[in-house]
Amino acid sequence: MKDILGSAVKLAGVDYCEIRFEESELLSISYQGKGLDRITRDTPYGGNVRALYKGGWGFASFNSLDDLKGAVESAAKQARLTGDRQGGESKLAPAPVVEDEHIPEYTLDPRGVSLDEKMRILNGYLDAILGYDSAITAAQIVYNERLSNIYFANSEGTYIKQEKLDIGSSLGATARRGMTTVSKRIGRGSSIGFDCMLNAYDDLREACGLAVRLLDAPQVKAGVYTVVCDPALAGLFVHEAFGHLSEADNAYKNPQLAKAMTLGRVLGRDILTIYDTGEYSKNRGYLKYDDEGVATRRTYLVKDGVLVGRLHSRETAGIMGEELTGSARALNYTFPPLVRMRNTCIAPGESSFEDMIKDVKLGLYAVGSGGGQTNGEMFNFMAGHGFMIRDGKLAELVKDVKLMGNVFTTLENIDMVGNDLDARDGAGGCGKGGQMPLPTSGLCPSIRIQNVIVGGGK
């Protein structure tokens, strides 16, 4: 493969060219209702060529290595068309030339676990969900296991072969009574081992119990509250509310946004430190090299409340004159890389959970993550459920908890950071530019935010 890609990449005759080729095997098992819904084995196979000429990019994807030469010519032709029209200059931040083969250190290689055993474990979870209570009418279990070999070569001489594992799973229960239906789920995920799927019974029973209790819980009353987010929701918050804004492909050719995100700007109190990293191999955002062949590194975005960094591709780092971070990622071979997060983290603080709620007269403890979205300035995310906080104590359970806010105001309004660091993983992933779901994770403590808008009933 090294010779095939290495030779082809030299044919482009442009400022820069890279080839990424992927051979993957994906096992998907899903249960819906009371039994197995689908078992599938996918074998994605293909590659792409990206070419850069006078600042203009061309991209071509293909399925057969027989079409590689044609794809190189197509990408190069497109790049010339774009570059000649732009009349610009190709600016890529210099990256070390690397020759490497990376295989993760597995804790439990899923290839060593038989399909019989995987089914036995999942069937056990199915039985636990359906047998929990008569109000549980359906189970939803998703198990996705993707093993990939990614080959990367560029015209500068880099050649990398990476083996990647991505396990993402969710185990959920639906409770129903008449027109009222409630679902609760737990997530599991890893980049190094099937062991993430073991011993989920305690968490699962808790989720089932909550699903049944939520049938009788009221919808949260709409209003503005002091909100304590648990680590899972804090992970979703930092991803949606801030992580996307720190992706430099939003700002590198947009001076107005770049100004709003000037390094050195004070965004929050000195208790707030946020970073994004390819470290933490137990989580789904683990990455040694990004899809431009750049080694990932821990990137501080906010340190002690001050904006200190952003996530980069080689182009955004080159144009903005900043350091590489190894954040160019593509969902698969059919897409070019975009600037994306990996594991996005809030550094733990010193507050205990009791400290965070003790002086809250009327507030909300929001638990679990159910998806979110941002447009840069505003964000919206959904919690799994919540508990009202009344006079410093946890009170009644509430459902349909959605939070929103202005990114900048909300960061300023984080007034406490917990000491209870925890990771968030699951079956889903991040979406951007039509590339979804890309595996990402969060590793965060609980956080307390003042004046959060909560949607809900009257």
Binding site: Q32, G33, K34, G35, L36, D37, R38, I39, T40, R41, T43, P44, G46, N48, G56, G58, F59, A60, S61, N63, S64, D66, D67, A75, Q78, A79, L81, T82, R85, L115, M119, T137, T174, R176, M179, T180, T181, V182, A222, G223, V224, K253, Q256, L257, T334, G371, Q373, N375, G376, E377, M378, F379, N380, M382, K402, M404, N406, F408, I453, G455
Partner: protein, 426 residues
């Protein structure tokens, strides 16, 4: 592909679906031309039923049919129990879905279209960061099974989008629209007009107090409101025991003005197909007729479980609608706006897709909403969220539907005006 069938065990039946896609397009970002792309994709999916159990294998590797069969056979002992056979040879009506002009569109032509779109918004205000994209797709799909079904079709899709970002300090305004067609016949002037009108309406900000208001949802947002109906009338939700409408079929559930249709048979529509992913001819399905839930969307498996016939909505992973159509009203949008004393019209939301659809609650951040005061647009509202319940609001709080409709993606919706929508503000 028949190679795989030759090696099939005698007690098995199989189906091979092949989808070959060629996509190409240009994109403009930050008010400048950014680049082009060209993708080719050849996906084969083999579904196998052996001893009453279904397994699936997919792949993109050329000449991998035997590997797909091997994978499916390995999985088959664990597979899903199914109570149906793949359909035999059947008659399906050809639908006009491919336009040869689309295949001829090249990068220079796309760049000219995109540049013209981009300049239209920059002429209004050079300070916006404009974006545009133009893309084309050519699809060939075929389905063949061991029981005698064989069918194929071609489709073309052409898309154009225009939008912009307008940032002043920490105030971010994003707006945009897109159009798609089976042919190169997109009305670019209409696209420009819509986007420029949105910008002019939204440029100035205003505020609104928390409360309940009449709210008009633009067609691009109506899918969030109909999601509880579509999810609840899906055969899979019904057979899994999670649909709240399971026992409400035939009962008056919503306002009689609500009629919701799914139709995969419409010619020259990007979401139409002559037969579904399982080889069942598509048809028009009236999901809700004058407020009464009528039809559950099914595929072969859910139809068998419900004792009915497949409605032609099989996608291989469960039933899905083709084109959802909410029948419009007779009032122009202008009149819907004019009739509101104090309210909001919503063109953009965030997070409205999250949450459990079966409970009917829909809420989200209003990312692009305009305040209506005495029947006139009075500027953009910020920092607000809406909450409503589709089952309740389409029953008791429906003001009306506009006569104008907009087709986007797999749906055609009018503007929907609802009363008593909770708006929360910071």
């Amino acid at each position: 592909m028949a190679v795989a069938f030759k090696n099939l065990p005698k007690d098995a039946q199989a189906e091979i679906h092949r989808r070959t896609t060629r996509s190409w397009g240009v994109r403009f970002q930050n008010s400048m031309f950014e680049g082009t792309s060209h993708s080719s994709h050849d996906l084969k999916t083999l579904r196998l039923i052996k001893s009453g159990k279904m397994s699936v294998a997919t792949g993109t590797k050329p000449g991998s049919e035997d590997e797909l069969l091997k994978s499916a056979l390995e999985l088959s002992k664990y597979g899903t129990s199914v109570g149906y056979d793949f359909p035999g040879a059947s008659e399906f009506e050809e639908i006009e879905l491919a336009n040869s002009d689309v295949v001829e569109i090249d990068f220079p032509e796309m760049i000219d279209i995109g540049d013209d779109l981009l300049q239209s918004i920059l002429r209004v205000d050079k300070n916006v960061r404009a974006s545009a994209s133009v893309g084309a797709q050519e699809v060939e799909a075929s389905l063949v099974n061991t029981n005698g079904f064989s069918g194929k079709y071609k489709k073309t899709v052409f898309r154009a989008s225009l939008g912009a970002q307008y940032i002043q300090g920490d105030d971010f305004l994003r707006f945009g629209e897109f159009k798609s067609s089976w042919a190169n016949d997109i009305d670019y002037d209409d696209l420009k007009k819509e986007v420029i009108r949105l910008f002019e309406w939204a440029k100035e900000t205003t505020d609104i107090k928390a409360g309940t208001y009449p709210v008009i949802f633009a067609p691009g947002q109506v899918g969030h409101l109909t999601r509880p109906f579509i999810a609840s009338l899906n055969g899979k939700a019904v057979t899994r025991g999670i649909s709240p409408l399971e026992e409400r079929i035939g009962q008056q559930l919503l306002d009689p003005r609500v009629t919701l249709i799914d139709d995969g048979t419409l010619p020259r529509e990007v979401s139409s197909v002559p037969f579904d992913r399982e080889g069942v001819p598509t048809q028009m399905n009236v999901l809700i007729d004058k407020g009464v839930p009528k039809q559950i969307l099914t595929d072969l498996e859910t139809a068998k479980q419900l004792g009915s016939r497949s409605t032609g909505n099989g996608r291989g992973t469960g039933p899905e609608p083709h084109r959802v159509i909410l029948l419009p009203g007779e009032v122009p949008l202008e009149q819907l706006i004019a009739d509101i004393g104090l309210g909001v019209i919503v063109f953009g939301t965030m997070g409205a897709w999250t949450g459990n659809p079966f409970g009917g609650n829909v809420s989200g951040t209003i990312s692009l909403g305009l305040k209506i005061v005495n029947g006139k647009i009075a500027g953009r509202v910020k920092n607000c969220m809406f909450s409503m319940n589709s089952f309740k609001h389409f029953k008791d709080h429906l003001i009306g539907f506009s006569k104008e409709v907009k087709a986007a993606g797999g749906a055609t919706y009018p503007y929907v005006a609802l009363d008593d929508v909770v708006v929360t503000t910071g």
